[in-house]
Amino acid sequence: MAVKLVDEPRLKVRNLQVEYHTRRGIVRAVQDVSFDVYPNEVFGLAGESGCGKSTIAHAVTRILKPPAYITGGEILCNGTDILMMGTETLRRFRWEHMSIVFQSAMNALNPVLTVGEQIIDAIQAHVLTPKKQARQQALDLLQIVGIDPGRIDSYPHQLSGGMRQRAVIAIALALKPELIIMDEPTTALDVVVQKQIMQEIRQLKNKFGFSILFITHDLSLLVEFSDRIGIMYAGELVEVSPSREIFQNPRHPYTMRLMNSFPTITGPRQDMLGIPGAPPDLVSPPSGCRFHPRCSVALAGRCQEEHPLLKTVSPRHEVACHLAESEAVKHGG
């Protein structure tokens, strides 16, 4: 499914920086991150736990609260900078143009309101709609995401995990936004249900033509589902590329190790290594390339001192690695 990259991106993130001010110090959770999401595209964001994926999702929707502070960068959605919007503009903008599906559907639904009420709330907050009409829309939305519309008056706890996740998606779709941010929408679910939901999301995307910023740490799912993928490490974007390309030809040592970290059910059965060590503490990240302490092919002086920037290594494939240009990488790993 080719995406025409000639279009203007729906979402343009430029040099985003986010910090958490904690007792231990400043956590630089997102450091100088830039990427684009194009119309009708699924852009995947992957990386180890704590590398800043959710922080990006929250920054893009501007729902970060202290102690998190956006300390730099721009987030342009359809050309307007979200970070510059006033409260009321933002309130209107959000959900109409961009919505978000949270990590856990269990907690994203208010336990004391029915699913219907929560959908209707979203609709009425933006468009002056009579109650009856809003309810009809809610029924339609449930139908769309594959929930029996008869469940409209059910409370969240009366629904199964899969249904709840669908309900959250229905809320996200309520105002037909152009961009939906999905932060690990299926982690709590079983594979079979996950499969169903991912299929439905894909169908909906094709039907309504929105873009998705898709966040997960399940690489198999990501590769299968996304058009393009960004790999994050310790608050930085280290590689961006179309998914097939990144799966078959990863260029960053971290990505390579990552791709080698999960067994598959059809591929060759081989010994795998994983990545030794642990992700760094973002209060005091390593100097130079943040991955260098765990990197087996790090260049003695350079990687410790010089911070690599994202560079295009092949068409639509960017990598932030000093070795990316040199062929050495291909044989390293």
């Binding site: 594979v191 079979v192 740490h217 198999s220 097939r244 990552l258 999960f262 591929g267």
Partner: protein, 327 residues
């Protein structure tokens, strides 16, 4: 991986467990596990896969003697241990069958240092002759799970460790008593992808070097393929299919196994796989009737599926399933 299939070290026979849930007014029985039968062999990994709530942990916990089985037998070296509650014999059993838990963040008591976690089994099971040996013994355990420098790790509290390191401590704790069997209940599912392999590789190494029998519980069938010799597929309290792992994955027989495999995202299989048609969700175990629990979602459902659970059909020497399609 030609583990000699000699004498099984642990046999599970027709094991079942009912939980009574709710209070006096809302009392109902949850049939968490029904009629589970399988064997564990030394130096052999048996994987138990299935969706959440299918009863995997319940089986493990019965074998670990944390739950009392409702029915069936657990034969360890030919002796039934399921109904033996004598403290002495229970301790003896525990010195040979150990367990690793799913969540490394909660399976280590936050108030105890790493050292304490390793000393306790040594003391309880008298694996130590002299007090002075303790230190050395603890260090050697840590070395075996690659937590070096050992001196430093021994004095840490769990919150000072990363997830992978904690799971290594948990493994070291299980190893302390030199067990013959290790029950690993989703040992890597809470860990980051990058760390998972380290733990799986460590366990594989133990299996190979010390001939330990593993029961590996997971919902990640791909990791089962990677690590296990044999896979058992569980659905709603029943083990519905079993067999040598590669064989089972490449050629699933039971409709549920087929569904499960088709749902697993797998970039290697080529992107955009055929879309699967799935209806319904896993049933509530409180409501399962007599028949095959998968009947409601099965495309090949027959009348008799709803009446009784199909018996075990041996497909080959290494494969079996419980489905009327193969009777």
């Amino acid at each position: 991986m030609a583990a000699e299939k000699v004498q099984p070290i642990l046999e599970v026979k027709a094991l079942s467990k009912d939980f009574v849930a709710g209070n006096v007014l809302t009392r109902r029985t949850v049939k968490a596990v029904q009629d589970a039968t399988f064997n564990l062999y030394a130096g052999h990994v048996t994987a138990l896969v299935g969706e959440s709530g299918s009863g995997k942990s319940t089986i493990v916990r019965m074998i670990a003697r944390l739950y009392q089985p409702t029915g069936g037998q657990i034969l360890f070296k030919g002796q039934d241990v399921a109904h033996d509650r004598t403290r002495g014999r229970l301790l003896k059993y525990r010195s040979q069958v150990q367990m690793i838990f799913q969540d490394p963040f909660s399976s280590l008591n936050p108030v105890h240092r790493v050292r304490h976690n390793l000393e306790r089994p040594l003391i309880i099971h008298k694996r130590i002759k002299r007090r002075q040996d303790m230190r050395e013994q603890v260090h050697s355990l840590l070395r075996r799970v690659s937590l070096t420098p050992v001196e430093e790790f021994a004095d840490k509290y769990p919150h000072q460790l990363s997830g992978g390191q904690r799971q290594r401590v948990a493994i070291a704790r299980a190893l302390a008593v030199e067990p013959l069997v290790i029950l690993a209940d989703e040992p890597v599912s809470m860990l980051d992808v990058s760390i998972r392999l380290g733990i799986l590789n460590l366990m594989a190494q133990l299996r190979n070097e010390q001939n330990i029998a593993f029961l590996y519980v997971t919902h990640d069938i791909a990791s089962a393929r990677y690590f296990a010799n044999e896979i058992l597929v569980m659905y709603a309290g029943h083990i519905v299919e079993g067999g040598a792992s590669e064989e089972l994955i490449q050629n699933p027989q039971h409709p549920y196994t087929q569904l499960l495999l088709s749902a697993v995202p797998d970039p290697a299989r080529g992107l955009r796989t055929a879309e699967v048609e799935v209806v319904g969700e896993i049933p509530s175990l409180a409501e399962v009737g007599l028949g095959c629990p998968f009947a409601a979602r099965c495309a090949h459902v027959m009348d008799k599926c709803r009446k009784a659970m199909p018996p075990r059909t041996q497909l080959s020497e290494t494969r079996w399933t419980r489905c009327y399609l193969y009777e």
